[in-house]
């Protein structure tokens, strides 16, 4: 395993922020630490970067125990949430700053810096002052600055949270492209599940300092292991079985039809949201959310009686399990 966390624990004034966290990922993977605010994901990232001293456990990267190393000695580099660019330096000066301490001559450093600015598409801006750049461009400078020192693991602390919705989608594509180009291992903190599902190879869902589930995006979405993960990821209709187990079905996994289906119900709410139309259907036992594609062909109306068929139904959780 390339990155390994063993029982990492961190407390702040007796509040346990990270509780016995263990996880591991392979080289070249993107791990997303996902969870609501206060779940300990940023604390975990800062502990890996060396900005926080952990109270218990071990952190191992590429076979080396880095638990007690100061940040400047660790084989990691961080893209900070605020980017933390040096405001009085140009783009290029920012990017090559770390190379000075790796023994690069100034000439070599500039060459390498320009190479990485090319990768993030900012070469023409190299002599600009960083404060003249837009948010997305600053983000790229921060990325280039962290990548140029060729860390073994790149840490990203909610890097896209300061960007607007459209740019966020664009940047996450870029980060993924750069990652596959360089083959670098990344740990990415986010509270945005869609972002995590999109970018990650492995997702670690965290809650109250504990790891709820570690798995691929598909595993997390299709086979949530706890009620928390189920609630946190995506929308779902939770159905209580006679056996006492809980099953769930995603809104997009329900087929709605006027004539045939397993369950009958009445549409009590309809919401238009662009590519989708969301319906709320009242059946005998449940209220179900159903998502219909806005294809322009078939649309249902309020008050209409419809038949529902579940394409897939996941029965996983014992009642009260891991809740």
């Amino acid at each position: 395993m390339f990155v390994k966390l063993e029982n990492v624990t961190k407390t702040f004034n007796e509040v346990v922020a990270v509780d016995q966290l263990s996880l591991e990922i392979n080289k070249g993977q993107i791990l997303c630490l996902l969870g609501p605010s206060g779940c300990g994901k940023t604390t975990t990232l800062k502990s890996i970067g060396g900005f926080l001293r952990i109270d218990g456990g071990r952190i191992i990267i590429d076979g080396e125990d880095i638990t007690n190393m100061p940040p400047e000695m660790r084989p990691t580099s961080t893209v900070f949430q605020s980017y933390a660019l040096f405001p009085h330096m140009t783009v290029l000066q920012n990017v090559i700053y770390g190379l000075k301490f790796k023994g690069y001559s100034r000439k070599e450093a500039i060459k390498k810096g320009e190479e990485y600015l090319e990768i993030v598409g900012l070469l023409p801006y190299r002599n600009r002052n960083v404060q003249q750049l837009s948010g997305g461009q600053q983000q790229r400078v921060a990325l280039a600055r962290a990548l140029v020192v060729t860390p073994k693991v790149l840490l990203l602390d909610e890097p896209l949270s300061n960007l607007d919705a459209k740019l966020r989608v664009k940047m996450r594509e870029e980060i993924k492209d750069i990652q596959s180009k360089l083959g670098i291992t990344m740990i990415f903190v986010t509270h945005d599940q869609e972002e995590a599902l999109h970018i990650a190879d492995v997702i670690a869902v965290m809650n109250e300092g504990k790891l709820e589930q570690l798995g691929t995006p598909r595993e997390i979405y299709c086979n949530p292991k706890s009620k928390f993960v189920l609630d946190f990821i995506g929308n779902s209709n939770v159905i209580e079985e006679n056996s006492g187990a809980i099953s769930f079905v995603r809104p997009e996994e329900i087929i709605m039809d006027r004539h045939e289906g397993n369950i009958c119900g009445k549409i009590v709410k309809k919401t238009f949201s662009g590519p989708y139309i969301s319906y709320v259907v009242q059946t005998d036992n449940n209220i179900l959310n159903v998502q219909g594609q806005n294809t322009g062909n078939e649309e249902f109306e309020m008050g209409e009686y419809v038949y529902l068929t579940f394409k897939e139904r996941h029965i996983h959780l014992k009642k009260h399990s891991s809740v």
Partner: protein, 549 residues
């Protein structure tokens, strides 16, 4: 990076840190210890006699001090609340003039209002004698209270305006939007939100009045207070232990004021005077707030009266500096300024030189203090932070006398040197300087410093390449403050300066005491002009830096 290089960097880091801690111990803790110790030791033995005597012999002075301080506090707080609300909510020219005048008082030497008072209401005062034809003895508590209230009010109005500015303007707008009128909004929204600030301003005024010996000495006449007694005990009677005890006594309300300030400031980011001033001038007043109603009328009238008084005060000083009376006639002259150049030129040059030294050295000292306490945050940094704030708790007189007691014998015999004066000003300014850096460094600095570390930079590189260049505007702000302070301070340094090495403010003090009012006024005007010039030059520089970004 090589291991040996790393060791060198670490060693430098430790060395700077140790030097810093030693400086803080020697120049802050040692004097404070010395003065407290002196007030309890008589003939080498611990005793409470000094305090017993103090209370027995000086009960009248204590009463006088408390009376003046209480009255000054009440009046000053009322004035400053009105002025602050007016400045915050009004627009237009009067507001601008008022802000400029408030800023002017920040760079004015002390005793300026006392001097104006003498010229207007004194025995030969322009108003009392020349207009009303009276020859009154107006020296007494009334004068002290009015002048202390007036000069405290500017400072307080400054602080309170800063606090109102920090209230989200949308809160005020939403109150108006919900149908409240101006009076109701001021009473129910603005005043309650100002409350901790008002309390703090009141406490500070109380302490300032208690420790002010200059005003009572110039216009108090026969009315004596505790601080004057402390001053005379040092200067005239050499009864150090009594002076020390008086200082320790004044420390009690000062400590209360400080504690309240700390609790208050924990919840609020505190602005420096400079940022408040800039904000006040920069900010385009929101058109949607249109104050009116009887309470607003009252505030307007109050603020206008204050403005009027201030204008009269400065006008008096200016006129006094360029006029002369001869055979009951007033005529213009440059004689006072000529006198200044001839006899007091040296002390002005000395003041400016000291100003530059404290500006630069104080800036460096406070930068490192802020760096180790705020950015590095090690185990004892809270303790160190407390030591650094001590000089802001104790009044100027206290620190002045403390320095004499601490540095009058070997191994650190500094009395009579320029160094003791400069060090005193520097360390007294350290808390406010450090606060400016903290505000600058703690917001962005911690993460930026982390980024530097993350990229492999050793601490001294982070300081040299990142933090120091990043905080150059803070450095300048501190430079201006320290310079201004050196040009205008009296309280502490009056005890430390030897006759041959007087500073401009002290010459001004002597001139007023000797009745050379024209020279005193000329000195005031010159001090203001010098400080103003430096202020404008440095602000230009800061502006240019900001625009380059």
């Amino acid at each position: 990076m090589s291991k040996s290089k790393n060791m060198v960097y670490k060693a430098i880091d430790y060395f700077i840190f140790i030097v810093l801690v030693m400086l803080l111990l020697i120049f802050i803790l040692r004097p404070i210890y010395a003065i407290i110790r002196t007030s309890f030791i008589l003939d080498g033995k611990f005793t409470l006699d000094i305090y017993r005597n103090l209370f027995r012999d000086n009960i009248r002075l204590i009463k006088n001090s408390l009376f003046v301080a209480t009255l000054t506090t009440i009046i000053s707080v009322i004035i400053s609340i009105n002025v602050a609300i007016y400045v915050s909510l009004s627009k237009g020219r009067i507001r601008k003039i008022l802000i400029l005048l408030l800023m002017l008082t920040m760079i004015s030497p002390p005793f300026l209002s006392s001097l104006a008072y003498i010229k207007l209401f004194g025995r030969r005062g322009f108003i009392t004698h020349d207009i009303l034809g009276l020859t009154l003895n107006t020296y007494g508590w009334q004068g002290i209270v009015s002048m202390q209230s007036l000069s405290s009010s500017s400072m307080n109005a400054f602080i309170l305006t800063g606090i109102i500015n920090r209230i989200d303007k949308d809160i005020i707008k939403s109150s108006l939007d919900l149908g409240a009128n101006t009076s109701y909004t001021i009473r129910k929204i603005i005043l309650p939100m100002m409350k901790p600030g008002i309390l703090n301003v009141a406490l500070l005024t109380f302490v300032r009045s208690l420790s002010d010996f200059g005003t009572p000495m110039t216009i108090g006449g026969a009315f004596n207070v505790l601080a004057t007694q402390a001053y005379l005990n040092v200067i005239a009677y050499s009864k150090m232990e009594l002076a020390a005890a008086i200082c320790v006594l004044i420390l009690i309300p000062a400590a209360i004021a400080f504690t309240q300030y700390r609790i208050f400031s924990r919840k609020n980011v505190l602005y420096t005077q400079n940022t408040i001033a800039n904000e006040m001038l920069d900010e385009d007043q929101d058109e949607s707030i249109k104050p009116k109603g009887p309470l607003w009328r009252f505030i307007q009238i109050f603020a206008s009266l204050f403005l009027f008084t201030m204008i009269i005060q400065y006008l008096t000083i200016f006129l006094t500096s360029i006029t002369q009376y001869s055979y009951g006639k007033m005529y213009f002259t440059i004689e006072h300024f000529v006198h200044l150049r001839k006899y007091l030129g040296d002390s002005f040059i000395r003041s400016i030189t000291y100003g530059f030294i404290t500006g630069i050295c104080g800036g460096i000292l406070s930068f490192f203090t802020s760096y180790y306490v705020e950015i590095r945050k090690f185990r004892a940094s809270r303790l160190l932070d407390f030591v650094v704030t001590l000089p802001s708790i104790v009044p100027g007189v206290f620190m002045g006398i403390a320095y004499i007691l601490a540095f009058n014998n070997k191994p650190l015999e500094l009395t009579g040197t320029s160094a003791i004066v400069i060090l005193n000003i520097m360390f007294r300014q350290l808390p406010s300087n450090t606060r400016v850096y903290n505000a600058n460094l703690s917001q962005i600095g911690t993460q930026v410093a982390d980024a530097g570390k993350d990229l492999g930079a050793p601490s001294i590189y982070i300081v040299k390449d990142i933090l120091f260049p990043m905080s150059k505007t803070a450095f300048m702000t501190n430079f201006v403050n320290n310079f201004k302070n050196t040009m205008t301070t009296v309280g502490a340094i009056i005890f430390l300066v030897y006759p041959g090495k007087k500073l401009a403010t002290l010459e001004m003090f002597s001139a007023i005491r000797e009745g050379k009012y024209g020279v005193g006024a000329a000195a005031s005007v010159t001090i203001i002009l010098i400080t103003l010039t430096i202020n404008i030059l440095m602000s230009r520089l800061i502006m240019r830096w900001k625009n380059v970004r």
